[in-house]
Structures are given as structure tokens and as C-alpha cells.
């Protein structure tokens, strides 16, 4: 059985924790996605994209309920990830688990959903 070859990332202010359940890859993001997180997040998502392709997962679930802030540079990593999967012709569904109380999530993720409605969905909790 294939296992995930991408590790968790934990910094003082930011965390990424991937888990693979059946054919769904869950990625929990926590902390603050500011300038300090932008570069590592971009590089992490490039690795994650390769894993999605290698494992042929059918869905990626981003749990951002504990991600209190995401600036435009970090958002760029999400967009590149989604565009990258679409560019490979993958029909992998992407779902965001969000917290309606966090303003950035409505503004940024709604635009993301509009951009790729057939791939991206938002589940408010």
C-alpha cells in the first residue's frame, strides 16, 4: 500500500498536517499564513501536487478552520496548486472546510470557488 511521502510542517506560527484516508488527502492548516509562510507553503504545495498525482487521490480536503489569516502571497500557492491539478487534466475535487467567522476565508475562498466551480467547493462550519 502506498503511503504519503510528504511530512508535516510545524513552525512557530504556521502548521501543515497531511493525512491520507482511502483516496482522500486531508490537509489541515493552522496558524497564520503571512509573508513568512508564503515561500514554504508554495514549495510544500508543489510536493503535495506530485503526491496527488502519484497516489491518484480523488479528493483533497483543506481544513482551514484554524488558519486565522492568509495573505495574497499564500493564496497564490492555493491557486497554483489548483491550476496545476487542472493543468494535468485531473478531476480531483477540492473542498475547503471553513469557519464563517474568519473574514479572509469568505473573500478569498469564494473567489477561488468562482474560479473553478467544477473542482472547488466550500463547506462552512
Amino acid at each position: 500500500m502506498s503511503s504519503l511521502k510528504v511530512e508535516s510542517v510545524v513552525t512557530d506560527s504556521f502548521g501543515i498536517e497531511p493525512t491520507l484516508r482511502d483516496d482522500t488527502l486531508s490537509v489541515k492548516l493552522t496558524g497564520t499564513g503571512d509573508m513568512a509562510a508564503a515561500a514554504p507553503l508554495g514549495s510544500y504545495f508543489r510536493t503535495l501536487q506530485a503526491e496527488v498525482i502519484r497516489l491518484s487521490v480523488s479528493a483533497v480536503e483543506f481544513d482551514v478552520r484554524a488558519l486565522y489569516f492568509l495573505n495574497s502571497s499564500c493564496l497564490k500557492a492555493f491557486i497554483s496548486f489548483i491550476c496545476g491539478l487542472a493543468g494535468q487534466g485531473l478531476k480531483c475535487k477540492i473542498q475547503f472546510l471553513t469557519d464563517a467567522r474568519l473574514g479572509w476565508q469568505r473573500r478569498s475562498l469564494t473567489a477561488l470557488e468562482r474560479m473553478s466551480p467544477e473542482l472547488v467547493s466550500i463547506a462552512d462550519t
Binding site: F69, S73, G103, A111
Partner: protein, 832 residues
């Protein structure tokens, strides 16, 4: 009145090795006897002029009159490449210091060599005369080595003297190593000369030859006889044991020191002295016994044991002395003492002989003698004192003697085994400690770590006095006479001490006071170097550690200093690269800030709108955009933010600004949605297709009509309208998608509209305003922004803008994103 103790240097290529080890031992013991300091400096074999001089040899050029009073040079170990002329030049470089050469006869330099020619004559003669061999092959040493040349000439001479026809196929050359002995033997067999005996110019080559013969199934001594030269320790333990010319190497060293002391005392020494050699026959020539034990029997005597000894005492002493080689002169009277003890034993003082023998073995062991050779001494005594009953001997007396010889052989055997065991244990301990220290030295990535490792590892290796000093400049071609060093590590009495901070001339080898001192010392000076070119400094260490350690430590220290230098250079390069990268980013930010700020409209003038705007780039410029363009029917407002920072974001922002300006100029009444879609297609192509990057941007375009209608499209932060009628802010969300992320966004980009009424205040802003965070990471947020606008809504648009800015900056004094705002108050046309 006390005088300064003399210091003598011994220069050699290696401190281990059979020959070097024995010679050094002799020099060291004689130095103790003469109460002079000894400084052993070892590097490598000297290189030919013009060839790369090994960095290891830099140590030789640092030896001079500042540190020593005279120099003994083990020339035979240094001359392989440069020959006798090169050695002469090398030794003359030390003038006016007295110099003494070991192992090579050099004109104008007092020299001591063994009788190399006689040694080969003995070996070859033994093969021909004693064993009847006619096809005696020879493996010679390096052509430039004077001793090797003398030995080779003696081989031809020994054959000629016995009318054995010379055959070039039976002569091969080696390099005094086991491997070269194997190769030479392979050549000798391949040539078809069918040798029936082989004499090698040293033991190592002989052992190499025996290895190859064994591999080929050729038996020694049944099929071919083998002899070597030196009588190295290993010769006794090879299988079969090696017949060899015994070279008194320790004595060579001791006599060299004796001569040097005489020279310093102003006494005469021989220009060239020759030391005798002898043949030690073992199994490899088929003899299996020691030739030295055999001397012509003396005349018969009918008297008792003591009388037998007295009758031939002088002859017996000579025979005993020849049977055992004692390296230094400290035990010169041992044969007489042993015979006296035997006389006492034979006159009834039981146990005196064995007691004396044990004491002698103990002293001889300390002097470095091979204790096994005392078996030969017992053989001499047994042979000389044996009187068969049929020849008138006393049977009881002979039985007592036989028991004494038997007990003596057991004593000698035990002592020999004990000494060999101690040697083996010492080798094993040295190997183990070296293995441990190698691990520590291999992880030294800086000089402070190297110091810590030396402080912890060197005592275990047997060191208590150490000075490791490094050159102040490490360029390769420095003049040793001009170079200075600074001590990195200093150890006294087994403890690390603070080295003096000042530099000192490298030719002093160690900091002031280290080499001299009250007690007599023997110190070893080794180069701290890496490979043939990189010289780092000099280490001076006390003697007494196992000889394996010095050479290994030389390599470990050189490698550790090199690793530290490489690591330092790597860190420097990384820091330099980081500085350059930071500088590049800074320069990019400067350019990007200039692009961003110089492209904002100089004057804000749109009919019906009171306007103020602001763009304040952060340190890492964020790629914000705003524009205000007047048209005949009203005007266009635009605001956006390129995701990412730096020059690339600035360039994308420049593209957007140019396209918006061009498209609105060409079609002032165009649909904002159509413009956004067109701009998206162009930005997508430019950024992803041409710049090969992945920037995207928020962009909101608003087309304002003088009547108050505002049509907009795109994706950006909410539009805020502070209604004059209600005095409250309304947030109008945009409904599009980012530009630059997808090739076409026509389907998801729609126009929307709202209407401004007289006095309404329209505010556009970037996320640098709402996402500015305080010390607790709380964002300024949309609510605080609206509250600030509402509280200042009656003021001028400039005052509203400044009020918001003041509050944002109060919230977050050092924002990490650009802050951009456009504030517009609508004034409805006056009714006619």
C-alpha cells in the same frame, strides 16, 4: 656554571617503518645517554627540483640554527627521487650547522652507512656456496637510492666472483615496498630466467616476492630460496621465516648521535664510517638455524666447567657478542657478566646464571634488542661447553648443563613472548585509540571544535606536551624564513593551557619556551598539511606515543584543519550569497517601488468627484495598483493587488496599468467586464507563457458616469460607500475572479452597478488596510475601516484618507503590505 643543553634534529621521511623506527630508536637512546635534546622532524621523501614539493616537506625548511645545534639526516629515507647530488645540495643548505648523514655517503658530509656491498655478498654467496644455486635472481631498490645502487653492484660482483654467468633476466627493480617486491617477482618469473634463488635489497620486497611465489604454487624454500636485507621485525614472523642480512639499524642511529656530539665538541669524526652486517639464516633459505651461532669449536680441555670457561673466555665473549645485537652501548659488558654468572653457577652458586640471564633480558628488552637472539647465545655456550662422555666428559656435569640450557631457553622464550605480546598490545591499543580519535577529528568543522577534540583525544594517544601552530598566511609559496605562526593549541602536563596570543617566526616551530626547558626532551615535529600543496602549520609533540600515532595524527590534523578551512569558506560563500540575494531583493524593491509610485496619477480630476488617494509601499513592495482616469462622460477608477512581492509583482502591475489606460482611452464607455476579461487574457499569456511565472492579481474596474451610476466588474476587496443620507457605510462585494490565473474568465466576469447620491463617499482600498495586524496579530478589519470613514465622513476627502491612514498606522506601526486607498465624494450636478 650550567650551560644550555644542546638540541639535535633528526630528519627522516617517516617515523614508523622498519628502518626508520629502528634508526630513530637508536638516535633517541643515544640522545638520552648524551643528555641532549632531540627534535625528530619527519615529512616525506624529497621531491625533484621543479616537481611539486610536498607540503609535508615544509617542515625540513623550518629546521635551523634558531632551534637546533646540529642535524642528523636519515638520507637513505629522503633520497629516492633526488639522488646523491640532490641530497648534497639539500644538506649543504643547513650550513653552518654541523650535519651528519645516515645511510648515504655524501662528499663533504660526515656519513655512516652499513656495509651494503658486504651484506649482498653474504646473501648471494650463501645461496651459491652453501646451497649450490646458480640462478640467483635479484630485486633491487630505487635507482636514485645510493644504498640500493651499492647493493645492486655487489650482486653482480658476487656472481662474478663465483664465476656465475650474469643474466639480465634475473635482475628486477622495486621500490622498497611489499607491492613492488610482488611486481618484481612477477616480472622475474615472466621473463623465463628460471631463478632458483632470490635475493632482495630489503625485507619488504623479499616478503612481497614470497607472497607472489606462494600464489603461484612455488614453494619456499623447497622450490626456490629467498633472502632479504635489514632483518626487520617482520622477517622473524613470516612463513617461512626470512633469511636476511641483519643491518644494525639501532646501532646506526646511536653511532650517528655519538658522532654528532663529537662534532659539536670539536672532536674528529670519520668522514665515512661503515658498519658491519651479518647474515641471519632462517627458513626461507632452507637453513632454519642462525648462522651467527656457529663458530669454530675451541681446543679441547679436560678441566671442569669453570675451567672450561676460563680457558676460552675471550673467544666466548666475542662469540656471544656476535650472537646478539644490542643496539646501544649501554650493555657493552654483558657477555662477560653472563659468563661470570655461569662460572658462579658451575661452582655451586645455584640460580646465579638464570638470575643474571633474566636481568640481562630485561635490560636488553628496554634497549630494543630482539630477545629471541639470546637463543643463539645459549646455542654458542652449549656447543662450546659440551664434552661427550666418550671424549672424557663428566656425564653428571653434562646433564646438569643440559638442564641449565633447557631452563635458559624457557626463560628466553618467555621473555621474548612477553615482549612481543607487549608490542602487540601497544599496537592494538594505538590502533583502537586512533580509530576513536579519527571519528572525532573527522567531525571537526571549525578550529574551536578541533581544539576541544585535541584536548580530549591527545592524552589518550599518549601525549602530554603538544603545540599546534598555524601559519598566519596560508598561501602556498611563502618563504619559510619569513613566515610567522600563531599557536592554536597548547598542552602542558596533559592539560590544555592558553596559548600565547602573539605570532612568532615559523622557524621557531613552537611558541617561546616550549622547545627548551629544564628537563631533557625528545620532541617530534610534524607538518600540519593537506595533500602536496596546502601547508597549514606545524605540530610539535612529545615522544613516547606509539609510532603509528604520529603518522596517523599528521594526516588527521591536516585533514581536520582543511575541513575547518573548507567549512569556513562554505559559510563565507553562503553569507556572501545571502547578502547578494538580500541586496538584489532590496534593489528590486527599490525599482518596484519606483514603478508603483511613479505610475500613480499626478492629478486626480474627474468631474463630479472630489478625490484623494494614497499609495504607501511596504518594505517588500506588494504590487498594489490604483488609477483614476477622466473621460468626457465621467471617468474610470481602478484598484488591484498583484499576489506576490518584488520586481515581478511590480512588472505585472505595470502591465495592468498600461492595459487599463489604453483600453479605457480607446473605448471610454466600454463594459468593465469586457475590459477585465481582455486584460486577463493578456496578463495570463504574458505572465505564464512568456515570463514563465505564476503571479495573479485582484483587479476591480469602476466606470463612473457623471449622473452617479457606477458600473463595475472584477475581483477585489469590498467597495465601501458611506451614504450621506444614512451616514452609514455599505459594503458592496465584487463578484469576479482574479486575473492571470485562468486563460479565459469571460463566463465568470459580469458587470454590476450601484448609484452614488450627492455627498456619498466612495472608498476603495487594498488588503494592506484591512489586514494590517497589531502586536497580537489581530487584523484592523473592515469594521474598523468603516467606523473610521463614518466618523470622518463630513470632513474633506483628504482628511478622511488621512484619518484612516492614521488609525491603520496606529494599529500596525510597521505594515508588511502596501497600503492603497482612493477616496471620492460624489457631487451631483446642479439642477438647471
Amino acid at each position: 656554571m650550567s650551560t644550555k643543553r644542546r638540541t639535535i634534529a633528526l630528519l627522516m621521511d617517516y617515523v614508523g617503518g622498519d628502518y626508520q623506527s629502528e634508526v630513530r630508536f637508536g638516535v633517541e637512546r643515544a640522545a638520552e645517554a648524551h643528555d641532549v635534546n632531540l627534535l625528530v622532524a619527519f615529512g616525506e621523501t624529497l621531491a625533484l627540483p621543479g616537481a611539486t614539493d610536498a607540503a609535508q616537506n615544509s617542515i625540513y625548511h623550518l629546521i635551523g640554527e634558531e632551534t637546533v645545534d646540529g642535524i642528523i639526516v636519515a638520507s637513505a629515507t629522503l633520497c629516492h627521487h633526488i639522488g646523491i647530488e640532490g641530497m648534497r645540495e639539500f644538506l649543504r643548505g643547513y650550513a653552518p650547522l654541523p650535519v651528519f648523514s645516515i645511510g648515504m655517503e655524501i662528499e663533504g658530509i660526515p656519513s655512516l652507512t652499513v656495509d651494503n656491498a658486504f651484506g649482498i655478498e653474504l646473501a648471494v654467496g650463501h645461496m651459491v656456496d652453501a646451497h649450490g644455486r646458480r640462478r640467483v635472481a635479484y630485486i633491487g631498490g630505487p635507482a636514485n637510492n645510493e644504498e640500493a645502487r651499492t647493493r645492486a653492484e655487489a650482486y653482480w660482483g658476487a656472481l662474478a666472483a663465483r664465476a656465475v654467468p650474469p643474466d639480465e633476466r634475473l635482475f628486477a627493480e622495486g621500490a622498497f615496498t611489499i607491492d613492488s617486491g610482488r611486481s618484481a617477482m612477477r616480472d622475474l618469473l615472466a621473463r623465463g630466467g628460471e631463478p632458483d634463488a632470490v635475493v632482495a635489497a630489503n625485507d619488504k620486497m623479499a616478503l612481497g616476492a614470497m607472497e607472489l611465489l606462494k600464489e603461484r604454487g612455488i614453494r619456499v624454500p623447497q622450490d626456490i630460496l629467498v633472502a632479504g636485507f635489514d632483518d626487520a621485525v617482520i622477517a622473524r614472523f613470516s612463513k617461512p621465516s626470512l633469511t636476511t642480512v641483519r643491518q644494525p639499524m639501532k646501532r646506526l642511529g646511536a653511532l650517528a648521535m655519538d658522532s654528532m656530539v663529537r662534532m659539536l665538541d670539536g672532536k674528529d669524526v670519520q668522514d665515512v664510517a661503515l658498519l658491519e652486517v651479518e647474515l641471519t639464516c632462517r627458513e626461507s633459505c632452507g637453513c632454519g638455524v642462525q648462522a651467527s651461532a656457529s663458530l669454530p669449536p675451541p681446543g679441547t680441555t679436560g678441566r671442569g666447567g669453570a675451567a672450561l670457561i676460563a680457558a676460552q673466555r675471550g673467544s666466548l665473549e666475542r662469540a656471544l657478542r656476535r650472537s646478539v645485537s644490542i643496539p646501544t652501548g649501554s650493555l657493552d659488558g654483558w657477555p662477560g657478566d653472563l659468563l661470570s654468572a655461569l662460572e658462579a653457577e658451575l661452582t655451586g652458586k645455584e640460580g646465579r646464571f638464570l638470575h643474571a640471564l633474566e636481568a640481562l633480558l630485561d635490560a636488553a628488552g628496554r634497549a630494543g634488542a630482539i630477545l629471541d637472539h639470546f637463543q643463539g647465545a645459549i646455542a654458542v655456550l652449549r656447543e662450546r661447553l659440551h664434552r661427550p662422555v666418550e671424549d672424557g666428559g663428566d656425564g653428571v656435569f653434562q646433564d646438569a648443563l643440559e638442564r641449565l640450557w633447557h631452563a635458559s631457553r624457557i626463560v628466553i622464550g618467555s621473555a621474548s613472548v612477553r615482549v612481543e605480546g607487549e608490542r602487540r598490545l601497544n599496537v592494538e591499543l594505538a590502533s583502537m585509540y586512533l580509530s576513536w580519535s579519527a571519528r572525532s577529528f573527522s567531525t571537526c568543522l571549525s578550529l574551536p571544535i578541533l581544539k576541544r577534540v585535541m584536548a580530549s583525544e591527545l592524552p589518550a594517544l599518549g601525549f602530554s606536551r603538544v603545540a599546534v601552530s598555524l601559519y598566519d598566511s596560508t598561501h602556498g609559496g611563502h618563504d619559510p624564513q619569513q613566515t610567522t605562526m600563531k599557536t592554536l593549541f597548547l598542552m602542558e602536563g596533559g592539560r590544555e593551557v592558553e596559548p600565547p596570543p602573539a605570532s612568532f617566526p615559523a622557524r621557531l616551530l613552537a611558541p617561546d619556551g616550549f622547545l627548551g626547558g629544564g628537563e631533557r626532551t625528545t620532541l617530534i615535529a610534524i607538518p600540519v598539511a593537506f595533500g602536496d600543496l596546502e601547508k597549514f602549520g606545524v605540530a610539535v609533540l612529545n615522544s613516547g606515543a606509539h609510532e603509528l600515532v604520529y603518522d596517523a595524527l599528521r594526516l588527521q590534523l591536516g585533514s581536520a584543519v582543511k575541513a575547518a578551512a573548507l567549512h569556513r569558506e562554505m559559510i563565507r560563500q553562503v553569507e556572501l550569497r545571502e547578502r547578494l540575494e538580500q541586496e538584489r531583493i532590496h534593489q528590486e524593491s527599490v525599482v518596484a517601488a519606483r514603478i508603483q509610485t511613479t505610475l500613480v496619477p499626478e492629478r486626480l480630476s474627474v468631474e463630479g468627484l472630489e478625490l484623494s488617494a494614497l499609495m504607501k509601499p511596504a518594505a517588500a513592495v506588494g504590487g498594489d495598483y490604483y488609477d483614476v482616469l477622466a473621460t468626457a462622460e465621467g471617468g474610470w477608477l481602478g484598484i488591484g493587488d498583484v499576489a506576490g512581492h518584488g520586481l515581478a509583482a511590480g512588472l505585472v502591475m505595470l502591465m495592468i496599468q498600461s492595459m487599463v489606460s489604453a483600453l479605457t482611452r480607446r473605448d471610454p464607455g466600454a463594459s468593465p467586464a469586457r475590459l477585465i476579461s481582455a486584460i486577463n487574457a493578456a496578463v495570463y499569456e504574458n505572465v505564464r507563457g512568456r515570463l514563465m511565472r505564476d503571479e495573479h492579481a485582484t483587479l476591480l474596474l469602476l466606470r463612473y458616469e457623471r449622473g452617479g451610476r457606477v458600473t463595475f466588474a472584477g475581483a477585489h476587496d469590498d467597495i465601501i460607500v458611506c451614504r450621506a443620507r444614512t451616514r452609514r457605510c455599505v459594503c458592496i462585494p465584487s463578484s469576479g475572479v482574479w486575473i492571470g490565473a485562468l486563460p479565459a474568465i469571460d463566463a465568470m466576469t459580469r458587470d454590476a452597478e450601484f448609484v452614488l447620491e450627492d455627498g456619498d463617499v466612495l472608498v476603495l482600498y487594498s488588503d494592506g488596510v484591512t489586514e494590517a495586524r497589531d502586536a497580537h496579530h489581530e487584523q484592523f478589519g473592515l469594521e474598523r475601516l468603516c467606523a473610521a470613514i463614518e466618523s470622518a465622513q463630513s470632513a474633506s476627502v483628504v482628511a478622511i484618507r488621512d484619518r484612516v491612514l492614521k488609525e491603520v498606522e496606529g494599529w500596525c506601526p510597521s505594515p508588511d503590505d502596501d497600503i492603497t486607498m482612493v477616496v471620492a465624494r460624489y457631487r451631483a450636478p446642479r439642477q438647471p
